[in-house]
């Protein structure tokens, strides 16, 4: 099963794991990653912008790629858009597989691609106003880990 969604309101990051457990009874392994807005550091809010014609189709293609590459039984990709407060979940990736390594690697693969190749633009609000977050070299390097094989 595949469940890929963009969400404009806060979500329960525990739900995808439970959904996979219910819908993929043969899965011996379910791995979940939850990314949150870091609290502290002077950030008052984070805003995620997307472009509807590209963002969700891109996430669906990523999910299909991960399902095939790791032989998953199920995959959930949830990503927030809009304005978020510190501590709120931004992203949740949950993968179900027969064995643990495929589930764990699939989550890692999806996160590396979501961070550096998905169509999101982020800006954060600090005391002196809004600042766009620029691409980071680490994210592109993370993505290259998956270029072979």
């Amino acid at each position: 099963m595949r469940d890929v969604r963009l969400l404009s309101a806060p979500f329960d990051p525990g739900a995808p794991g439970e959904e996979l457990a219910a819908r993929c009874p043969g899965a011996g392994a379910i791995a979940t990653f939850v990314g949150r807005v870091r609290a502290g550091g002077g950030v008052e809010a984070l805003e995620l912008q997307h472009y509807a014609p590209l963002t969700l189709p891109g996430m669906e293609a990523l999910a299909d790629s991960a399902l095939a590459r790791f032989g998953l039984m199920g995959l959930v990709l949830l990503h927030r858009v809009g304005r978020l407060a510190p501590g709120e979940p931004i992203v949740c990736v949950a993968a179900a597989a027969r064995h643990r390594r495929a589930a764990i690697e699939a989550v890692d693969y999806c996160m590396d691609h979501l961070k550096s190749a998905a169509w999101f633009w982020k800006r954060e609000k600090r005391g002196d106003g809004w600042h766009w977050i620029e691409p980071r070299a680490e994210d592109r390097r993370d993505l290259r880990r998956w270029a072979t094989g």
């Binding site: 472009y51 014609p53 590209l54 550096s116 998905a118 169509w119 633009w121 691409p135 980071r136 592109r140």
Partner: protein, 82 residues
Amino acid sequence: MVFLGKLADLAGTGEHVIATSERCDWPALEGHLARVGGDALVEAVRAPGVKLAINGTLLADKRDLSAGEGDEVAFLPPVSGG
């Protein structure tokens, strides 16, 4: 025209409608961009990392643009990491 990320700040708007009956290629587009956001917007869109999509399809080379009535051209700066 749809401006994403910091390009919307340079354009002063997230969306801008061009009223023209002529087809729009890259040189014509630069003229429209200059009228919306001046040279700063033109330079920003020329940057190698900025991609264009027409009606939701990415262009391999943005200079191949050919848009007409009703088409939506999106200007996509590099996505944020972090």
